[in-house]
């Protein structure tokens, strides 16, 4: 049918919104060929400038539609997805493991801005997260749940100087396996072990070691400024002797 309004990226690439990645790619290749400056198809129909503008649009369409989250944001903006659909949609791996979620609430609706604002297609995505409630006295990290020990929590809060074994103690208190931590931090187990066993010679230079400790604290949900400062005090005192 005759199109009244400004066309969507789907119209531009002549695909349906349900098209899969292969279809989108093929349509993109075809559109690029059609609107390229030397294409015979646009001869005498579009000026070079118009063709360039179209080509830019085609590229933008592909960069949006080929990326899952951007495509979702775009669909949402077009009104192709509604709230109902969002809820029924299969949650992605992150959301389907409530134990892995760092959130404490039972369920929360977050509004997230998606997209690049300067391009003018920023969409707001509502993320529905369902998290199982925990029994009294339990907390969770991104990897595990653990029983809260008020005394130890206080020790962590008051820490002035600590070594690697203290970090290890926190990790074990929070029931986080070294393997999972290593995978999430993209840091080898041997490095983490060296950190926990205070083998400073096997650790990288100071600035990198600090970075590793920062990551370590974030993963465990610690107050990173305090703990990192405490560890670095220890590290520096060891290095200077």
């Amino acid at each position: 049918m005759y199109q009244e309004e400004e066309t969507s990226f789907y119209d531009l690439l002549e695909i349906s919104p349900s098209a899969g990645p292969t279809e989108i790619y093929e349509a993109y290749q075809r559109a690029r060929e059609t609107y390229s400056p030397h294409s015979a198809a646009i001869y005498s129909m579009f000026t070079e400038e118009e063709a360039r503008e179209l080509l830019r649009l085609v590229d933008e369409a592909y960069s949006t539609l080929s990326n899952r989250s951007r495509k979702r944001a775009y669909d949402l903006r077009l009104g192709l997805l509604d709230d109902e659909e969002l809820k029924n949609e299969t949650p992605n791996a992150y959301h389907s493991h409530p134990n892995k979620s760092p959130e404490k609430q039972d369920s929360l609706v977050e509004e997230r801005k998606v997209g690049r604002a300067e391009e003018g297609w920023t969409g707001i995505v509502k993320v529905h997260r369902k998290v199982d409630p925990l029994p009294e006295g339990q907390e969770r990290t991104r990897f595990s749940t653990y029983t809260v020990d008020a005394q130890f929590e206080k020790d962590i809060e008051d820490v002035e100087e600590c070594d690697g074994s203290f970090l290890q103690k926190i990790r074990e208190y929070k029931n986080v396996p070294l393997q999972e931590l290593s995978e999430a931090m993209k840091t080898s187990r041997s490095t983490l072990r060296a950190l926990e066993e205070n083998e400073l010679d096997r650790l990288p230079v100071q600035v990198f070691t600090r970075g590793i400790v920062v990551q370590y604290c974030r993963m465990l949900g610690l107050d990173e400024h305090k703990v990192v400062a405490a560890y670095m005090t220890y590290y520096k005192s060891q290095k200077s002797t």
């Binding site: 049918m1 005759y2 009244e4 059609t34 015979a40 198809a41 646009i42 001869y43 005498s44 129909m45």
Partner: protein, 327 residues
């Protein structure tokens, strides 16, 4: 049986008169046009007619290239003794009187050839008589083979059809002319059928107000936005115009993609749905069979073109009508 309503209001009557498309034609009319000569209009229309006839449809092929008619040669027929020319001269004749049979079963021809002083210029009244005679001629398919160029009467013949086939070849000259032809068709359509909607004044109003109009699509969009009251009618009128693109004489696989590209460009430029009917390979068999004075599909049935044209004929043919693929 449906009863005709006893009284038609004047407004309704007027509407029927204004919009020729509202009175159903007695056949499916397919017009084949292109801006440029020599791109294969006659070849395509004769082949298409051949296949439709083969499929068991009664088909009438009309040579509307009045100044330079040669469709009979494409079909391998001799010069018919009568044709459009005779129909024009003698107002007592009906269109049925000037139809000549061909060697192919179900296929009939109206020749446009003339050798007298008469050179194809016809008055509006004559044109109108010819168009309405064709429009009301009962048969399955009428195929109009148009001449090159963008003469007003050519545009009118083209607009009379339900299927608007435009033939391209992959050369820039052909593409340019075909685009020009399509633009001319578009503006003719909007002015002719839009007169009821005061399109002229409205367009003038739009141009005065300095809207940024670069293409027919922009024009339609602006008309819809500025005058929502005519939006529905305009949509109805303009949706009758859907170009079907044929890319003839392709030599490489990339040319096939060009056909799809042309379709995209047309859709974008006109803001109307277009269809890419298909591509036809370049084949020396075409001129060889023409020299033998036989149609390609008779002289060279093993050509690639056979299957390609058959596919297009099937696309165009109405599926509700009987088909017989084995003749």
């Amino acid at each position: 049986m449906m009863k005709a309503s006893p009284k038609l209001s004047t407004a309704t009557k007027k509407k029927v008169v204004d919009l020729r498309g509202r009175i159903a034609p007695q056949s499916t009319i397919i017009a084949v046009g292109a801006g440029k000569g020599g791109v294969g209009k006659s070849f395509f229309s004769s082949s298409l007619a051949y296949f439709l006839a083969q499929m068991g449809h009664k088909t009438l092929l009309v040579d509307m290239d009045l100044g330079a008619a040669n469709l009979h040669t494409w079909l391998g027929e001799g010069l018919p003794s009568k044709g459009i020319n005779e129909f024009m001269k003698d107002t007592n004749l009906t269109i049925g009187d000037v139809i000549s049979p061909t060697m192919k079963n179900n296929l009939h021809l109206i020749s446009g050839a003339s050798e007298g002083l008469y050179n194809g210029d016809i008055s509006d009244a004559e044109k109108s008589r010819l168009l309405s005679a064709l429009y009301n001629y009962p048969t399955d398919y009428i195929i109009l083979d148009l001449g090159a160029g963008t003469h007003t009467s050519t545009l009118d013949y083209f607009l009379m059809a339900q299927h608007h086939v435009v033939v391209f070849t992959p050369e820039p000259s052909s593409i340019e002319n075909a685009y020009r032809f399509m633009k001319a068709v578009f503006y003719r359509k909007i002015r002719r059928y839009g007169s009821r909607l005061d399109i002229d004044q409205r367009i003038e109003h739009i141009t005065k107000n300095n809207h940024n109009i670069k293409s027919p699509r922009d024009l339609l969009n602006t008309l819809h936005k500025e005058f929502p009251e005519i939006s529905k009618d305009l949509k109805e009128v303009m949706n009758q115009l859907q170009f079907q693109i044929v890319l003839n004489q392709i030599r490489t696989a990339q040319d096939r993609n060009l056909g799809k590209g042309i379709k995209s460009v047309c859709q974008r430029h006109f803001g109307l749905p277009c269809e890419f009917l298909g591509a036809l390979s370049y084949d020396n068999a075409v001129w060889q069979s023409l020299r033998q004075k036989k149609h390609l599909l008779v002289a060279n049935p093993y050509s690639h073109l056979y299957a390609q044209i058959m596919a297009m004929a099937r696309k165009l043919a109405d599926p509700s009508q009987p088909k017989n693929m084995v003749s």
